[in-house]
Symmetry: D2
Subunit: 145 residues, 4 copies
Amino acid sequence: MVFGDSQSVARLRADFDRQGAMQSMGITVADVAPGRVILEMPFNPAFSQHHGFMHAGTITSGMDSACGFAAFTLMDAESEVLTVEFKCSFLAPARGQSFRFEGNVLKSGRTLTFTEGRAIAVDAGQETMVATITATMMAVRGLKA
Amino acid sequence: MVFGDSQSVARLRADFDRQGAMQSMGITVADVAPGRVILEMPFNPAFSQHHGFMHAGTITSGMDSACGFAAFTLMDAESEVLTVEFKCSFLAPARGQSFRFEGNVLKSGRTLTFTEGRAIAVDAGQETMVATITATMMAVRGLKA
Amino acid sequence: MVFGDSQSVARLRADFDRQGAMQSMGITVADVAPGRVILEMPFNPAFSQHHGFMHAGTITSGMDSACGFAAFTLMDAESEVLTVEFKCSFLAPARGQSFRFEGNVLKSGRTLTFTEGRAIAVDAGQETMVATITATMMAVRGLKA
Amino acid sequence: MVFGDSQSVARLRADFDRQGAMQSMGITVADVAPGRVILEMPFNPAFSQHHGFMHAGTITSGMDSACGFAAFTLMDAESEVLTVEFKCSFLAPARGQSFRFEGNVLKSGRTLTFTEGRAIAVDAGQETMVATITATMMAVRGLKA
Protein backbone atom coordinates (compact mmCIF):
# COMPACT_ATOMS: atom_id res chain seq x y z
CA MET A 1 0.00 0.00 0.00
CA VAL A 2 1.67 3.16 -1.22
CA PHE A 3 -0.90 5.48 0.23
CA GLY A 4 -0.57 7.22 3.56
CA ASP A 5 2.48 9.25 2.71
CA SER A 6 1.57 12.86 2.23
CA GLN A 7 2.95 12.78 -1.33
CA SER A 8 0.20 10.44 -2.48
CA VAL A 9 -2.51 12.58 -0.95
CA ALA A 10 -1.01 15.63 -2.60
CA ARG A 11 -0.92 13.76 -5.91
CA LEU A 12 -4.57 12.80 -5.53
CA ARG A 13 -5.64 16.35 -4.77
CA ALA A 14 -3.61 17.66 -7.71
CA ASP A 15 -5.28 15.18 -10.06
CA PHE A 16 -8.65 16.06 -8.61
CA ASP A 17 -8.09 19.77 -9.10
CA ARG A 18 -7.23 19.20 -12.76
CA GLN A 19 -10.64 17.63 -13.39
CA GLY A 20 -12.73 20.27 -15.12
CA ALA A 21 -15.85 18.22 -14.51
CA MET A 22 -15.42 18.20 -10.72
CA GLN A 23 -14.86 21.96 -10.59
CA SER A 24 -17.78 22.67 -12.92
CA MET A 25 -20.15 20.66 -10.76
CA GLY A 26 -18.78 22.03 -7.49
CA ILE A 27 -17.63 18.64 -6.16
CA THR A 28 -14.87 18.78 -3.53
CA VAL A 29 -12.84 16.32 -1.47
CA ALA A 30 -14.24 15.87 2.06
CA ASP A 31 -12.12 12.98 3.33
CA VAL A 32 -9.41 10.61 2.09
CA ALA A 33 -8.12 7.40 3.66
CA PRO A 34 -6.45 4.32 2.15
CA GLY A 35 -9.13 2.65 0.04
CA ARG A 36 -11.82 5.19 0.95
CA VAL A 37 -12.72 8.64 -0.40
CA ILE A 38 -15.61 10.96 0.44
CA LEU A 39 -16.64 13.80 -1.85
CA GLU A 40 -19.27 16.51 -1.31
CA MET A 41 -21.40 18.73 -3.50
CA PRO A 42 -24.01 21.37 -2.75
CA PHE A 43 -27.30 21.26 -4.68
CA ASN A 44 -26.69 22.87 -8.05
CA PRO A 45 -29.65 23.79 -10.30
CA ALA A 46 -27.25 23.83 -13.26
CA PHE A 47 -27.10 20.02 -12.98
CA SER A 48 -30.71 19.19 -12.30
CA GLN A 49 -33.09 17.17 -14.44
CA HIS A 50 -36.57 18.32 -15.42
CA HIS A 51 -38.21 17.63 -12.02
CA GLY A 52 -35.66 19.70 -10.12
CA PHE A 53 -33.72 16.76 -8.65
CA MET A 54 -30.01 16.36 -9.35
CA HIS A 55 -29.48 14.61 -12.69
CA ALA A 56 -28.59 10.91 -12.55
CA GLY A 57 -25.48 11.66 -14.59
CA THR A 58 -24.29 14.20 -12.04
CA ILE A 59 -24.88 11.82 -9.13
CA THR A 60 -22.97 9.24 -11.15
CA SER A 61 -20.07 11.63 -11.74
CA GLY A 62 -19.69 12.10 -8.00
CA MET A 63 -19.90 8.38 -7.19
CA ASP A 64 -17.54 7.43 -10.05
CA SER A 65 -14.96 9.97 -8.88
CA ALA A 66 -15.20 8.82 -5.26
CA CYS A 67 -14.63 5.21 -6.34
CA GLY A 68 -11.86 6.08 -8.80
CA PHE A 69 -9.92 8.07 -6.24
CA ALA A 70 -10.50 5.39 -3.58
CA ALA A 71 -8.88 2.90 -5.99
CA PHE A 72 -6.10 5.39 -6.72
CA THR A 73 -5.12 5.60 -3.03
CA LEU A 74 -3.97 1.96 -3.20
CA MET A 75 -2.11 2.14 -6.52
CA ASP A 76 1.64 2.55 -6.96
CA ALA A 77 3.15 5.96 -7.74
CA GLU A 78 3.42 5.32 -11.51
CA SER A 79 -0.26 4.50 -11.98
CA GLU A 80 -3.14 6.52 -13.26
CA VAL A 81 -6.69 5.31 -12.74
CA LEU A 82 -9.29 4.79 -15.47
CA THR A 83 -12.90 3.63 -15.12
CA VAL A 84 -13.51 0.30 -16.88
CA GLU A 85 -17.23 0.14 -16.13
CA PHE A 86 -19.82 0.90 -13.48
CA LYS A 87 -23.39 0.10 -12.62
CA CYS A 88 -25.55 2.58 -10.76
CA SER A 89 -28.97 2.10 -9.16
CA PHE A 90 -31.20 5.05 -8.35
CA LEU A 91 -33.14 4.27 -5.20
CA ALA A 92 -34.79 7.64 -4.61
CA PRO A 93 -35.03 11.08 -6.22
CA ALA A 94 -31.83 13.08 -5.62
CA ARG A 95 -33.49 15.85 -3.65
CA GLY A 96 -31.51 17.79 -1.04
CA GLN A 97 -29.41 20.78 -0.07
CA SER A 98 -26.20 18.82 -0.41
CA PHE A 99 -24.89 15.43 -1.48
CA ARG A 100 -22.15 13.15 -0.18
CA PHE A 101 -20.42 10.57 -2.39
CA GLU A 102 -18.65 7.66 -0.69
CA GLY A 103 -16.25 5.35 -2.52
CA ASN A 104 -14.71 2.20 -1.04
CA VAL A 105 -12.29 -0.41 -2.36
CA LEU A 106 -13.61 -3.97 -2.13
CA LYS A 107 -10.51 -5.59 -3.62
CA SER A 108 -7.35 -4.06 -4.96
CA GLY A 109 -5.22 -5.86 -7.55
CA ARG A 110 -2.20 -4.92 -9.64
CA THR A 111 -4.33 -4.19 -12.71
CA LEU A 112 -7.96 -4.11 -11.59
CA THR A 113 -9.57 -2.68 -8.48
CA PHE A 114 -13.17 -3.46 -7.49
CA THR A 115 -15.00 -0.65 -5.73
CA GLU A 116 -18.44 0.21 -4.45
CA GLY A 117 -20.00 3.46 -3.33
CA ARG A 118 -23.13 5.38 -2.63
CA ALA A 119 -24.69 8.82 -2.85
CA ILE A 120 -26.34 10.32 0.23
CA ALA A 121 -28.70 13.30 -0.04
CA VAL A 122 -28.88 15.64 2.92
CA ASP A 123 -32.29 17.33 3.04
CA ALA A 124 -33.19 19.48 6.06
CA GLY A 125 -30.70 17.54 8.15
CA GLN A 126 -32.07 14.14 7.16
CA GLU A 127 -29.87 11.72 5.22
CA THR A 128 -31.22 9.46 2.46
CA MET A 129 -29.27 7.00 0.33
CA VAL A 130 -30.34 7.96 -3.20
CA ALA A 131 -28.00 5.86 -5.33
CA THR A 132 -25.43 3.06 -5.29
CA ILE A 133 -22.53 2.21 -7.58
CA THR A 134 -20.26 -0.74 -8.19
CA ALA A 135 -17.28 0.11 -10.39
CA THR A 136 -14.23 -1.61 -11.85
CA MET A 137 -11.16 0.62 -11.97
CA MET A 138 -7.93 -0.04 -13.91
CA ALA A 139 -4.39 1.02 -13.11
CA VAL A 140 -2.75 2.40 -16.23
CA ARG A 141 0.98 3.01 -16.32
CA GLY A 142 2.79 5.34 -18.69
CA LEU A 143 -0.31 7.26 -19.71
CA LYS A 144 1.40 10.62 -19.46
CA ALA A 145 4.55 9.54 -21.30
CA MET B 1 -47.53 3.83 -29.26
CA VAL B 2 -48.42 7.44 -28.46
CA PHE B 3 -45.39 8.92 -30.13
CA GLY B 4 -45.36 10.29 -33.61
CA ASP B 5 -47.87 13.04 -33.08
CA SER B 6 -46.17 16.40 -32.95
CA GLN B 7 -47.51 17.01 -29.44
CA SER B 8 -45.34 14.22 -28.01
CA VAL B 9 -42.24 15.49 -29.73
CA ALA B 10 -42.97 18.98 -28.44
CA ARG B 11 -43.45 17.55 -24.95
CA LEU B 12 -40.09 15.75 -25.19
CA ARG B 13 -38.27 18.87 -26.31
CA ALA B 14 -39.92 20.93 -23.56
CA ASP B 15 -38.82 18.41 -20.94
CA PHE B 16 -35.36 18.34 -22.42
CA ASP B 17 -35.06 22.12 -22.36
CA ARG B 18 -35.99 22.18 -18.66
CA GLN B 19 -33.00 19.95 -17.83
CA GLY B 20 -30.35 22.23 -16.38
CA ALA B 21 -27.79 19.46 -16.69
CA MET B 22 -28.23 19.12 -20.45
CA GLN B 23 -27.95 22.87 -21.00
CA SER B 24 -24.91 23.16 -18.74
CA MET B 25 -23.07 20.45 -20.64
CA GLY B 26 -24.14 21.71 -24.06
CA ILE B 27 -26.04 18.56 -25.02
CA THR B 28 -28.72 19.03 -27.67
CA VAL B 29 -31.29 16.86 -29.49
CA ALA B 30 -30.08 15.72 -32.92
CA ASP B 31 -32.81 13.26 -33.90
CA VAL B 32 -35.96 11.70 -32.45
CA ALA B 33 -37.95 8.72 -33.67
CA PRO B 34 -40.26 6.28 -31.85
CA GLY B 35 -38.00 4.28 -29.52
CA ARG B 36 -34.81 6.04 -30.67
CA VAL B 37 -33.15 9.33 -29.70
CA ILE B 38 -29.81 10.83 -30.76
CA LEU B 39 -28.14 13.62 -28.80
CA GLU B 40 -24.98 15.59 -29.59
CA MET B 41 -22.37 17.51 -27.62
CA PRO B 42 -19.24 19.41 -28.63
CA PHE B 43 -16.05 18.76 -26.64
CA ASN B 44 -16.24 20.84 -23.48
CA PRO B 45 -13.12 21.31 -21.31
CA ALA B 46 -15.41 22.21 -18.40
CA PHE B 47 -16.42 18.52 -18.25
CA SER B 48 -13.10 16.84 -18.80
CA GLN B 49 -11.21 14.59 -16.44
CA HIS B 50 -7.54 15.02 -15.55
CA HIS B 51 -6.15 13.62 -18.81
CA GLY B 52 -8.19 16.00 -20.96
CA PHE B 53 -10.75 13.42 -22.13
CA MET B 54 -14.43 13.93 -21.45
CA HIS B 55 -15.31 12.71 -17.95
CA ALA B 56 -17.01 9.30 -17.68
CA GLY B 57 -19.84 10.96 -15.78
CA THR B 58 -20.47 13.39 -18.62
CA ILE B 59 -20.47 10.65 -21.23
CA THR B 60 -22.87 8.79 -18.96
CA SER B 61 -25.16 11.84 -18.68
CA GLY B 62 -25.47 11.95 -22.45
CA MET B 63 -26.11 8.21 -22.85
CA ASP B 64 -28.58 8.13 -19.94
CA SER B 65 -30.55 11.04 -21.40
CA ALA B 66 -30.61 9.49 -24.87
CA CYS B 67 -31.96 6.23 -23.41
CA GLY B 68 -34.43 7.96 -21.09
CA PHE B 69 -35.91 10.04 -23.88
CA ALA B 70 -36.00 7.02 -26.21
CA ALA B 71 -38.10 5.24 -23.57
CA PHE B 72 -40.23 8.35 -23.14
CA THR B 73 -41.19 8.37 -26.83
CA LEU B 74 -43.14 5.12 -26.29
CA MET B 75 -44.86 6.07 -23.01
CA ASP B 76 -48.42 7.38 -22.68
CA ALA B 77 -49.09 11.09 -22.30
CA GLU B 78 -49.47 10.95 -18.49
CA SER B 79 -46.06 9.38 -17.90
CA GLU B 80 -42.79 10.84 -16.81
CA VAL B 81 -39.60 8.80 -17.14
CA LEU B 82 -37.15 8.01 -14.35
CA THR B 83 -33.90 6.06 -14.54
CA VAL B 84 -34.02 2.89 -12.40
CA GLU B 85 -30.44 1.81 -13.08
CA PHE B 86 -27.79 1.70 -15.77
CA LYS B 87 -24.49 0.02 -16.48
CA CYS B 88 -21.85 1.72 -18.59
CA SER B 89 -18.66 0.32 -20.08
CA PHE B 90 -15.84 2.58 -21.19
CA LEU B 91 -14.15 1.06 -24.22
CA ALA B 92 -11.80 3.89 -25.15
CA PRO B 93 -10.78 7.34 -23.91
CA ALA B 94 -13.46 9.94 -24.78
CA ARG B 95 -11.24 12.03 -27.02
CA GLY B 96 -12.77 14.07 -29.84
CA GLN B 97 -14.16 17.34 -31.16
CA SER B 98 -17.72 16.17 -30.65
CA PHE B 99 -19.74 13.30 -29.24
CA ARG B 100 -22.93 11.56 -30.30
CA PHE B 101 -25.17 9.70 -27.85
CA GLU B 102 -27.57 7.09 -29.24
CA GLY B 103 -30.42 5.57 -27.19
CA ASN B 104 -32.64 2.72 -28.35
CA VAL B 105 -35.56 0.87 -26.77
CA LEU B 106 -35.08 -2.89 -26.58
CA LYS B 107 -38.45 -3.62 -24.96
CA SER B 108 -41.17 -1.27 -23.85
CA GLY B 109 -43.60 -2.25 -21.10
CA ARG B 110 -46.33 -0.44 -19.16
CA THR B 111 -44.04 0.14 -16.17
CA LEU B 112 -40.48 -0.73 -17.24
CA THR B 113 -38.64 -0.05 -20.47
CA PHE B 114 -35.33 -1.71 -21.32
CA THR B 115 -32.94 0.41 -23.35
CA GLU B 116 -29.40 0.32 -24.69
CA GLY B 117 -27.17 3.00 -26.13
CA ARG B 118 -23.69 4.08 -27.02
CA ALA B 119 -21.40 7.09 -27.16
CA ILE B 120 -19.50 7.85 -30.35
CA ALA B 121 -16.53 10.23 -30.38
CA VAL B 122 -15.88 12.15 -33.59
CA ASP B 123 -12.17 13.00 -33.87
CA ALA B 124 -10.86 14.55 -37.10
CA GLY B 125 -13.76 13.01 -38.98
CA GLN B 126 -13.16 9.52 -37.62
CA GLU B 127 -15.82 7.86 -35.44
CA THR B 128 -14.96 5.68 -32.43
CA MET B 129 -17.39 3.97 -30.06
CA VAL B 130 -16.08 5.05 -26.66
CA ALA B 131 -18.80 3.77 -24.32
CA THR B 132 -21.94 1.62 -24.09
CA ILE B 133 -24.93 1.70 -21.74
CA THR B 134 -27.80 -0.60 -20.84
CA ALA B 135 -30.47 1.14 -18.79
CA THR B 136 -33.82 0.32 -17.19
CA MET B 137 -36.31 3.18 -17.33
CA MET B 138 -39.57 3.48 -15.38
CA ALA B 139 -42.80 5.20 -16.34
CA VAL B 140 -44.05 7.23 -13.40
CA ARG B 141 -47.56 8.68 -13.44
CA GLY B 142 -48.80 11.62 -11.38
CA LEU B 143 -45.32 12.89 -10.53
CA LYS B 144 -46.26 16.50 -11.20
CA ALA B 145 -49.57 16.33 -9.33
CA MET C 1 -44.14 -5.50 6.05
CA VAL C 2 -46.03 -8.75 5.61
CA PHE C 3 -43.13 -10.95 6.50
CA GLY C 4 -42.57 -12.43 9.92
CA ASP C 5 -45.71 -14.50 10.07
CA SER C 6 -44.93 -18.16 9.65
CA GLN C 7 -47.18 -18.32 6.58
CA SER C 8 -44.83 -16.11 4.57
CA VAL C 9 -41.80 -18.13 5.50
CA ALA C 10 -43.63 -21.31 4.55
CA ARG C 11 -44.60 -19.74 1.23
CA LEU C 12 -40.99 -18.77 0.56
CA ARG C 13 -39.72 -22.25 1.32
CA ALA C 14 -42.42 -23.81 -0.87
CA ASP C 15 -41.46 -21.54 -3.77
CA PHE C 16 -37.81 -22.32 -3.19
CA ASP C 17 -38.45 -26.07 -3.20
CA ARG C 18 -40.23 -25.80 -6.54
CA GLN C 19 -37.12 -24.31 -8.17
CA GLY C 20 -35.53 -27.11 -10.14
CA ALA C 21 -32.39 -25.03 -10.55
CA MET C 22 -31.80 -24.70 -6.79
CA GLN C 23 -32.27 -28.42 -6.22
CA SER C 24 -30.05 -29.37 -9.15
CA MET C 25 -27.21 -27.20 -7.86
CA GLY C 26 -27.68 -28.28 -4.24
CA ILE C 27 -28.48 -24.79 -2.95
CA THR C 28 -30.45 -24.69 0.31
CA VAL C 29 -31.92 -22.03 2.62
CA ALA C 30 -29.66 -21.31 5.62
CA ASP C 31 -31.41 -18.32 7.15
CA VAL C 32 -34.36 -16.03 6.48
CA ALA C 33 -35.22 -12.70 8.07
CA PRO C 34 -37.27 -9.73 6.80
CA GLY C 35 -35.25 -8.26 3.93
CA ARG C 36 -32.39 -10.73 4.32
CA VAL C 37 -31.84 -14.31 3.07
CA ILE C 38 -28.79 -16.56 3.31
CA LEU C 39 -28.35 -19.62 1.08
CA GLU C 40 -25.66 -22.29 1.13
CA MET C 41 -24.14 -24.69 -1.35
CA PRO C 42 -21.39 -27.33 -1.10
CA PHE C 43 -18.72 -27.40 -3.82
CA ASN C 44 -20.16 -29.28 -6.77
CA PRO C 45 -17.88 -30.40 -9.63
CA ALA C 46 -20.98 -30.65 -11.84
CA PHE C 47 -21.08 -26.83 -11.85
CA SER C 48 -17.43 -25.99 -12.20
CA GLN C 49 -15.71 -24.18 -15.04
CA HIS C 50 -12.59 -25.45 -16.78
CA HIS C 51 -10.14 -24.51 -13.99
CA GLY C 52 -12.06 -26.39 -11.33
CA PHE C 53 -13.60 -23.31 -9.67
CA MET C 54 -17.35 -22.92 -9.40
CA HIS C 55 -18.76 -21.43 -12.62
CA ALA C 56 -19.62 -17.72 -12.56
CA GLY C 57 -23.14 -18.62 -13.66
CA THR C 58 -23.60 -20.90 -10.68
CA ILE C 59 -22.31 -18.30 -8.23
CA THR C 60 -24.70 -15.87 -9.90
CA SER C 61 -27.63 -18.28 -9.50
CA GLY C 62 -27.01 -18.43 -5.77
CA MET C 63 -26.64 -14.67 -5.35
CA ASP C 64 -29.68 -13.92 -7.56
CA SER C 65 -31.84 -16.33 -5.57
CA ALA C 66 -30.68 -14.91 -2.24
CA CYS C 67 -31.56 -11.38 -3.43
CA GLY C 68 -34.85 -12.43 -5.00
CA PHE C 69 -36.03 -14.18 -1.86
CA ALA C 70 -34.83 -11.30 0.31
CA ALA C 71 -37.04 -9.00 -1.78
CA PHE C 72 -39.89 -11.50 -1.57
CA THR C 73 -39.88 -11.42 2.25
CA LEU C 74 -41.08 -7.79 2.11
CA MET C 75 -43.73 -8.21 -0.61
CA ASP C 76 -47.46 -8.62 -0.02
CA ALA C 77 -49.06 -12.06 -0.12
CA GLU C 78 -50.32 -11.74 -3.72
CA SER C 79 -46.90 -10.98 -5.19
CA GLU C 80 -44.43 -13.13 -7.00
CA VAL C 81 -40.87 -11.91 -7.52
CA LEU C 82 -39.08 -11.63 -10.86
CA THR C 83 -35.52 -10.49 -11.54
CA VAL C 84 -35.43 -7.34 -13.67
CA GLU C 85 -31.63 -7.14 -13.93
CA PHE C 86 -28.45 -7.73 -11.99
CA LYS C 87 -24.77 -6.89 -12.15
CA CYS C 88 -22.18 -9.24 -10.71
CA SER C 89 -18.47 -8.66 -10.11
CA PHE C 90 -16.08 -11.55 -9.66
CA LEU C 91 -13.39 -10.56 -7.19
CA ALA C 92 -11.60 -13.89 -6.78
CA PRO C 93 -11.76 -17.45 -8.12
CA ALA C 94 -14.68 -19.37 -6.54
CA ARG C 95 -12.52 -21.98 -4.84
CA GLY C 96 -13.75 -23.69 -1.67
CA GLN C 97 -15.51 -26.56 0.04
CA SER C 98 -18.70 -24.59 0.40
CA PHE C 99 -20.28 -21.28 -0.57
CA ARG C 100 -22.61 -18.87 1.19
CA PHE C 101 -24.87 -16.47 -0.69
CA GLU C 102 -26.18 -13.41 1.16
CA GLY C 103 -29.01 -11.23 -0.16
CA ASN C 104 -30.14 -7.95 1.41
CA VAL C 105 -32.84 -5.44 0.55
CA LEU C 106 -31.55 -1.88 0.14
CA LYS C 107 -34.94 -0.35 -0.62
CA SER C 108 -38.33 -1.95 -0.96
CA GLY C 109 -41.07 -0.34 -3.06
CA ARG C 110 -44.54 -1.40 -4.19
CA THR C 111 -43.26 -2.41 -7.64
CA LEU C 112 -39.45 -2.44 -7.51
CA THR C 113 -37.08 -3.63 -4.81
CA PHE C 114 -33.35 -2.81 -4.87
CA THR C 115 -31.11 -5.49 -3.41
CA GLU C 116 -27.43 -6.28 -3.00
CA GLY C 117 -25.61 -9.45 -2.07
CA ARG C 118 -22.36 -11.34 -2.04
CA ALA C 119 -20.89 -14.81 -2.37
CA ILE C 120 -18.49 -16.08 0.28
CA ALA C 121 -16.25 -19.10 -0.34
CA VAL C 122 -15.29 -21.20 2.66
CA ASP C 123 -11.94 -22.90 2.03
CA ALA C 124 -10.28 -24.81 4.87
CA GLY C 125 -12.16 -22.69 7.37
CA GLN C 126 -11.13 -19.39 5.79
CA GLU C 127 -13.77 -17.10 4.30
CA THR C 128 -13.21 -15.08 1.10
CA MET C 129 -15.67 -12.79 -0.65
CA VAL C 130 -15.53 -14.04 -4.23
CA ALA C 131 -18.37 -12.09 -5.87
CA THR C 132 -20.87 -9.27 -5.38
CA ILE C 133 -24.27 -8.58 -6.91
CA THR C 134 -26.66 -5.65 -7.15
CA ALA C 135 -30.10 -6.66 -8.42
CA THR C 136 -33.44 -5.01 -9.17
CA MET C 137 -36.42 -7.22 -8.33
CA MET C 138 -40.03 -6.68 -9.41
CA ALA C 139 -43.24 -7.64 -7.63
CA VAL C 140 -45.62 -9.24 -10.09
CA ARG C 141 -49.24 -9.81 -9.16
CA GLY C 142 -51.59 -12.31 -10.78
CA LEU C 143 -48.81 -14.33 -12.41
CA LYS C 144 -50.40 -17.67 -11.43
CA ALA C 145 -53.94 -16.68 -12.46
CA MET D 1 -5.68 -12.32 -34.11
CA VAL D 2 -4.63 -15.85 -33.28
CA PHE D 3 -8.00 -17.38 -33.99
CA GLY D 4 -8.92 -19.01 -37.25
CA ASP D 5 -6.29 -21.73 -37.19
CA SER D 6 -7.90 -25.05 -36.38
CA GLN D 7 -5.70 -25.39 -33.28
CA SER D 8 -7.42 -22.48 -31.57
CA VAL D 9 -10.87 -23.84 -32.29
CA ALA D 10 -9.80 -27.23 -30.96
CA ARG D 11 -8.44 -25.54 -27.83
CA LEU D 12 -11.75 -23.72 -27.32
CA ARG D 13 -13.79 -26.89 -27.69
CA ALA D 14 -11.46 -28.75 -25.31
CA ASP D 15 -11.86 -26.01 -22.69
CA PHE D 16 -15.60 -26.02 -23.21
CA ASP D 17 -15.82 -29.78 -22.77
CA ARG D 18 -13.96 -29.56 -19.45
CA GLN D 19 -16.64 -27.24 -18.05
CA GLY D 20 -18.81 -29.35 -15.79
CA ALA D 21 -21.39 -26.59 -15.66
CA MET D 22 -21.94 -26.54 -19.42
CA GLN D 23 -22.33 -30.32 -19.58
CA SER D 24 -24.66 -30.40 -16.59
CA MET D 25 -26.96 -27.83 -18.15
CA GLY D 26 -26.79 -29.37 -21.61
CA ILE D 27 -25.25 -26.32 -23.27
CA THR D 28 -23.35 -27.01 -26.50
CA VAL D 29 -21.36 -25.04 -29.09
CA ALA D 30 -23.43 -24.17 -32.17
CA ASP D 31 -21.08 -21.82 -34.01
CA VAL D 32 -17.68 -20.20 -33.56
CA ALA D 33 -16.10 -17.34 -35.48
CA PRO D 34 -13.41 -14.80 -34.52
CA GLY D 35 -15.02 -12.59 -31.87
CA ARG D 36 -18.37 -14.39 -32.02
CA VAL D 37 -19.70 -17.58 -30.38
CA ILE D 38 -23.17 -19.12 -30.41
CA LEU D 39 -24.25 -21.72 -27.86
CA GLU D 40 -27.48 -23.73 -27.65
CA MET D 41 -29.47 -25.44 -24.92
CA PRO D 42 -32.74 -27.38 -24.94
CA PHE D 43 -35.32 -26.55 -22.25
CA ASN D 44 -34.30 -28.36 -19.08
CA PRO D 45 -36.73 -28.62 -16.14
CA ALA D 46 -33.76 -29.32 -13.88
CA PHE D 47 -32.78 -25.65 -14.29
CA SER D 48 -36.15 -23.96 -14.09
CA GLN D 49 -37.38 -21.50 -11.50
CA HIS D 50 -40.68 -21.83 -9.65
CA HIS D 51 -42.90 -20.70 -12.55
CA GLY D 52 -41.47 -23.24 -14.96
CA PHE D 53 -39.32 -20.79 -16.95
CA MET D 54 -35.57 -21.29 -17.21
CA HIS D 55 -33.84 -19.81 -14.15
CA ALA D 56 -32.16 -16.41 -14.63
CA GLY D 57 -28.91 -17.95 -13.39
CA THR D 58 -29.02 -20.60 -16.09
CA ILE D 59 -29.72 -18.07 -18.83
CA THR D 60 -26.83 -16.06 -17.43
CA SER D 61 -24.51 -19.08 -17.50
CA GLY D 62 -25.20 -19.52 -21.20
CA MET D 63 -24.72 -15.84 -22.05
CA ASP D 64 -21.57 -15.55 -19.88
CA SER D 65 -20.03 -18.59 -21.58
CA ALA D 66 -20.88 -17.32 -25.05
CA CYS D 67 -19.23 -13.97 -24.26
CA GLY D 68 -16.23 -15.55 -22.54
CA PHE D 69 -15.50 -17.84 -25.44
CA ALA D 70 -16.06 -15.04 -27.95
CA ALA D 71 -13.36 -13.06 -26.10
CA PHE D 72 -11.15 -16.16 -25.99
CA THR D 73 -11.18 -16.49 -29.79
CA LEU D 74 -9.21 -13.22 -30.03
CA MET D 75 -6.68 -13.93 -27.26
CA ASP D 76 -3.15 -15.24 -27.75
CA ALA D 77 -2.36 -18.91 -27.26
CA GLU D 78 -1.03 -18.49 -23.69
CA SER D 79 -4.16 -16.81 -22.36
CA GLU D 80 -7.04 -18.14 -20.36
CA VAL D 81 -10.22 -16.10 -20.02
CA LEU D 82 -11.85 -15.07 -16.75
CA THR D 83 -15.06 -13.09 -16.24
CA VAL D 84 -14.41 -9.76 -14.48
CA GLU D 85 -18.06 -8.70 -14.29
CA PHE D 86 -21.32 -8.77 -16.20
CA LYS D 87 -24.72 -7.14 -16.18
CA CYS D 88 -27.80 -8.98 -17.37
CA SER D 89 -31.29 -7.65 -18.09
CA PHE D 90 -34.28 -9.97 -18.23
CA LEU D 91 -36.70 -8.68 -20.85
CA ALA D 92 -39.18 -11.55 -20.89
CA PRO D 93 -39.82 -14.89 -19.17
CA ALA D 94 -37.43 -17.57 -20.48
CA ARG D 95 -40.13 -19.80 -21.89
CA GLY D 96 -39.37 -22.07 -24.83
CA GLN D 97 -38.34 -25.46 -26.20
CA SER D 98 -34.76 -24.29 -26.73
CA PHE D 99 -32.48 -21.35 -26.13
CA ARG D 100 -29.69 -19.72 -28.12
CA PHE D 101 -26.91 -17.71 -26.50
CA GLU D 102 -24.98 -15.24 -28.66
CA GLY D 103 -21.72 -13.62 -27.55
CA ASN D 104 -19.89 -10.87 -29.46
CA VAL D 105 -16.69 -8.93 -28.85
CA LEU D 106 -17.15 -5.15 -28.85
CA LYS D 107 -13.49 -4.34 -28.23
CA SER D 108 -10.54 -6.61 -27.67
CA GLY D 109 -7.48 -5.45 -25.73
CA ARG D 110 -4.33 -7.12 -24.44
CA THR D 111 -5.76 -7.43 -20.91
CA LEU D 112 -9.47 -6.61 -21.10
CA THR D 113 -12.08 -7.54 -23.67
CA PHE D 114 -15.53 -5.91 -23.76
CA THR D 115 -18.34 -8.17 -24.93
CA GLU D 116 -22.10 -8.15 -25.30
CA GLY D 117 -24.61 -10.91 -25.89
CA ARG D 118 -28.19 -12.03 -25.76
CA ALA D 119 -30.40 -15.02 -25.05
CA ILE D 120 -33.06 -16.00 -27.58
CA ALA D 121 -35.92 -18.36 -26.65
CA VAL D 122 -37.37 -20.51 -29.41
CA ASP D 123 -41.01 -21.35 -28.65
CA ALA D 124 -43.09 -23.14 -31.28
CA GLY D 125 -40.80 -21.77 -33.99
CA GLN D 126 -41.05 -18.18 -32.78
CA GLU D 127 -37.95 -16.38 -31.52
CA THR D 128 -37.99 -13.96 -28.58
CA MET D 129 -35.07 -12.08 -27.06
CA VAL D 130 -35.43 -12.86 -23.35
CA ALA D 131 -32.21 -11.43 -21.92
CA THR D 132 -29.14 -9.31 -22.68
CA ILE D 133 -25.65 -9.23 -21.20
CA THR D 134 -22.66 -6.90 -21.25
CA ALA D 135 -19.53 -8.50 -19.84
CA THR D 136 -15.90 -7.59 -19.24
CA MET D 137 -13.49 -10.47 -19.78
CA MET D 138 -9.84 -10.65 -18.73
CA ALA D 139 -6.94 -12.49 -20.34
CA VAL D 140 -4.96 -14.31 -17.68
CA ARG D 141 -1.56 -15.78 -18.51
CA GLY D 142 0.16 -18.57 -16.62
CA LEU D 143 -2.96 -19.74 -14.80
CA LYS D 144 -2.20 -23.41 -15.40
CA ALA D 145 1.47 -23.16 -14.42
